[in-house]
């Protein structure tokens, strides 16, 4: 399979087709492939089917811009900087976005199954909840569980009995194998080996579970360097299809050892997300109003970005003002 191909952000977004199923690296407001998300919005992609273990600012940008048709996940919000997903919520309330709720660990089960080439993964977590209410199977209600879409399982879940130790009932969760994994990674070697710093979230599984993988790399580093500590790497080059070198590519989400979450930016976005009009204005300024990632960074400005810059020993910014004191 060889070494992944280096492409530009524009080329990367151009690969994604309307209606494709996407999944992402990161966790809520950390290590999201934001620069690529913006470019997808700029290119006006439609009817996207998102599966994500949890959502965040990137979800809201896509939902606000009208790119999302189906959202399967467990959570959306901006943590401290915006309690709920207003754009997605609006789409859901208006019936424009089909939502399939799973619990967080059920989503992990689904992506693990996808990563391991298994059709399902078992779990006993979150039984006895309305997540499992057959009346609330929204993809079924939408007539989408007939097997015609290979990305949508014929059932939301299955209840089975343990045949080995009489533990009782538990659940099987269907695999997810998205068309695309859009990944932001801390470092990528010149032959494609991928590393993320600190927590790995579900990045390892997301890469394996997708048909095609695009990695936004904060840095591209010598392959011999990244192979000095192979226990810290999460994917080999043969598991990656395309690489985009893209410093600050996760902004406004955070990237351990590079930069913190941009709290002010996220709060402003959250405010804007509360109405379509305000969102559109925000997108006009921050997405359509800049023609490239470089222009976006210039617009943010050096002073702002330096405040977010991580202390290289601690892994997070020790200069950004986080609270009231």
């Amino acid at each position: 399979m060889g070494v992944p191909k280096k492409i530009t952000l524009k080329e990367a977004a151009g690969l994604i087709k309307d209606g494709d199923m996407l999944t992402f690296s990161g966790f809520t407001i950390w290590r999201r492939p934001m620069a690529l998300i913006y470019e997808i919005v700029r290119q006006g992609k439609k009817d996207l089917h998102l599966f994500e273990v949890n959502g965040g600012t990137h979800t809201e940008v896509l939902a606000g811009a009208g790119c999302v048709k189906i959202w399967e996940s467990s959570w959306v919000g901006h943590e401290l900087y915006g309690k709920v997903g207003e754009c997605l919520g609006r789409g859901q309330v208006e019936g424009k976005i089909i939502t399939e709720d799973y619990s967080h660990a059920q989503c992990v089960a689904r992506i693990l199954a996808g990563a391991y080439g298994l059709p399902f993964f078992p779990t006993a977590l979150s039984m006895g909840t309305d997540i499992l209410n057959p009346e609330f199977d929204m993809l079924k209600r939408a007539g989408l569980r007939d097997g015609s879409n290979p990305k949508i399982p014929q059932k939301k879940y299955e209840i089975v009995k343990d045949p080995f130790y009489d533990m009782g009932e538990l659940l099987l969760m269907p695999a997810v194998n998205a068309d695309w994994a859009l990944i932001y990674a801390s470092q990528v070697g010149t032959e494609g080996t991928v590393r993320v710093f600190s927590q790995t979230y579900t990045d390892t599984e997301v890469i394996k579970a997708a048909d095609k993988v695009i990695v936004l790399a904060e840095e591209i580093v010598p392959e011999t360097y990244i192979r000095q500590e192979p226990e810290k790497n999460i994917a080999a080059g043969f598991a990656v299809d395309y690489i985009v070198e893209c410093p600050w590519g996760a902004h406004p989400t955070g990237s351990q050892f590079f930069y913190d979450v941009d709290a002010d930016f996220t709060r402003e976005f959250y405010k804007a997300s509360k109405s379509q009009e305000a969102f559109d204005k925000w997108a006009e300024e921050w997405v359509f109003g800049v023609s490239s990632h470089e222009e976006y960074l210039d617009k943010l400005g050096m002073t702002r970005l330096m405040k977010l810059k991580a202390n290289s020993v601690m892994g997070y910014s020790t200069t950004v003002k986080r609270g009231t004191r």
């Binding site: 950390w30 709720d101 967080h104 309305d130 710093f197 351990q256 609270g323």
Partner: protein, 267 residues
């Protein structure tokens, strides 16, 4: 042991953090979320539970950053952690594996069985309003031995029936029929425990032998009747033990100077 020196001045948030911290036993493996749960576990570690261990669902075990994390996915969670991995490790390698003793959780609505909603207002199929969704709430609540909920007390939030059962309390639907049965019947030999307390801004609630919520203590300034008035269901106040213990000067000092000196969760 000297007599406790109770603080004269404290905010409602301080009382909640202190009450929640008291639920931690030394040596507990604790699953905590962003905000008050972090204050509670960090305060507990600095007082009576130095060997309690905290797991954040994003992938870290027992981080020891000098600065409180702003979210469970934060770089701060990984600093001097025992393990930095991912959600497969925390949800399957730790939680499903059976290591978790205690968890702190939140919610928008609850019923008297401790069923919690953090998904929608209204009919799920055409909701009036969406919240964040479940996150790990039901996962953690279903497999931790003891869970403690921290919630805002309002009549419309303490309901006879929640609009959607996001997180399983003591009487829950068994699918596919949806018949309500005790939690143990749904979880079989996977059963480990469930909600032991709800801490609101007015009171501390616990659950009786039948898994029904009762008033345990009221926070200073409130009466049992006021609390009952702020529940839509018929709250049992007969077992109320009196007032919730208030924060000590030392606890306040630790909270504001050691746990959250930046004023992130304690402005």
């Amino acid at each position: 042991m000297t007599a406790k020196n109770y603080a004269k001045d404290y905010k409602p948030m301080d009382l909640l953090a202190v009450a929640a911290a008291k639920e931690v036993e030394d040596g507990d493996v604790v699953f905590a979320g962003t905000g008050l749960p972090m204050l509670a576990i960090l305060l507990a570690q600095l007082t009576h539970a130095p060997s309690a261990v905290c797991i954040y669902e994003a992938g870290t075990v027992d981080g020891r950053a000098p600065d409180i994390p702003t979210s469970v996915g934060d770089a701060r969670c990984a600093y001097q952690a025992s393990i930095a991995a991912g959600l497969t490790e925390t949800f399957y390698g730790s939680l499903h594996s059976g290591y978790v003793d205690l968890a702190f959780l939140g919610g928008a609505e609850c019923d008297k069985y401790g069923n919690v909603n953090c998904t929608v207002i209204g009919d799920y199929r055409s909701p009036a309003k969406r919240f964040t969704g479940s996150g790990g709430n039901p996962d953690i609540n279903s497999f931790a031995r003891r869970t403690v909920f921290i919630m805002v007390q309002e009549k419309r939030r303490f309901k006879e029936h929640v609009d959607y059962i996001t997180s399983p309390g003591w009487r829950i639907p068994k699918w596919p029929s949806g018949e309500y049965v005790p939690k143990k019947e749904v979880y079989g030999k996977f059963y480990k425990g469930g909600p032991v307390a709800i801490i609101s801004n007015m009171a501390v609630f616990r659950f009786d032998e039948d898994g029904i919520m009762y008033l345990d203590t009221v926070h200073p300034g409130f009466t049992p009747e006021q609390v009952k008035d702020n529940c839509s269901f018929d709250l049992n106040i007969s077992r109320c033990r009196g007032e919730t213990e208030t924060p000590t000067v030392e606890e306040i000092e630790i909270l504001y100077n050691k746990v959250d000196p930046e004023g992130i969760f304690l402005p």
